[in-house]
Amino acid sequence: MKAVMLVYSFKQVFSNKFYIFLAATIFTSFWILFSVLGELLFFSPVLVFYLPVDAIPVFVLSSIISALMGIVLSMNVYVIKNTKLKINKSSFMGSSVGIASGACASCSSMGFILLTSFGGAGVAASTFLSVYQIPLLLGSIVLLIWAYYSIHNKLTKSCMLNESA
């Protein structure tokens, strides 16, 4: 029953094509961003997408994060547009952790920039993000799922929905 309700809030938002478009745009933007930073997608000198075996777990997790970010951020926009409720904090936390850890597939490769820009702290941060990348990505997925659940609660419990908007 609870699961059906969770789907209901999803349908409520994505029955409007604008939110489907928004979610697709966010998903595509982050999927490209993560793939480029993970050195899986190259645009020059030739357009290549390349998925070596060692990159599969991070690619799968960052693709899930991109999809969840598309859904959760679009639902947040729906909440802001249609209610007087505030934006969901957990979706920002989930998105931030997801971006930092997903993007850090190439952190060590950018070590020189981090070293010159942020000194030893930059290298320490990049080491942390690289070594704990998979747990951080999993944590980000949990946060985004929690954010989805929170938004669902707002949408189903709020009395301030303006369905005509």
Partner: protein, 229 residues
């Protein structure tokens, strides 16, 4: 009305920020692929100036193309290149004498990177740089976790059959510290921003092409084929 517009403005700004981040990242990656050094303070990036007697080189030194990797033994993407792309280049271009491959040290990940780089030069002294290189990348541990400390490197050297007495003495004396530092300075002068980075040198005297990133085989294939034709 203003209540309606505000979320749209927020949404629009968010979308623009995402787009700007994505575009700037893409530009960073693509700009790096065609760097040609114009800094007059840099010595000419020619085969003779870059490949010295201590530079590990694989293949025919007279090959029309030399691919120089600037790598770090602790860098995961360098490991990916060494395990996936390098062997394909070797089978298709190095063995046929069309391309030679050289390695220079761009030690950016942490202090152990420099130790691993010096150790690899000690292995090079005994003619086993590439065996040592492959063993390190095939057994690469997490960054700065201690796997590239002296004791483990000495054990690896012993396991692959290097003369341990000579290797240990070479590593303990920091014999190749200046070489590793010089390679790092060269990478900085070329304005490489990360590892692995590559220089594609052609023996026709044309300007070398620079790349930053663990590009797949298809990219190198395109560059080599265009140069060779």
């Amino acid at each position: 009305m203003s209540k309606m517009k505000k979320p749209l403005i927020v949404g629009g700004i968010t979308a623009i920020v995402i787009a700007v981040i994505a575009v700037s990242v893409l530009n960073n990656n693509t700009v790096d692929t065609s760097i040609e050094s114009t800094d007059s303070s840099i010595s000419p990036l020619s085969f003779s100036s870059l490949i010295t007697k201590d530079t590990p080189l694989k293949g025919d030194p007279l090959a029309p193309i030399t691919l120089i990797e600037f790598g770090d033994f602790q860098c995961p993407n360098c490991g990916r290149f060494a395990r996936e792309t390098g062997p394909q280049i070797e089978a298709s271009y190095v063995e046929s004498g069309q391309v030679s491959m050289a390695f220079k040290h761009f030690t950016v990940v942490g202090p152990d990177s420099k130790i691993a780089a010096m150790a690899s030069q000690c292995a090079n002294e005994q003619g086993m740089f590439w065996e040592f290189h492959d063993t390190l990348y095939n057994n690469q541990g997490p960054e700065n976790s201690g796997w590239a400390k002296k004791d483990n490197l000495k054990k690896i050297a012993s396991d692959i059959g290097l003369d341990t007495q000579s290797f240990d003495s070479c590593l303990d004396s920091n014999k190749y510290q200046s070489l590793v530092d010089n390679d790092l300075n060269l990478a900085k002068q070329i304005e490489f921003t990360g590892t692995p980075s590559f220089l594609v040198l052609k023996n026709d005297g044309s300007k070398p092409q620079a790349l930053t990133g663990a590009y797949p085989y298809a990219t190198f294939q395109k560059i080599f084929d265009e140069s060779l034709n």
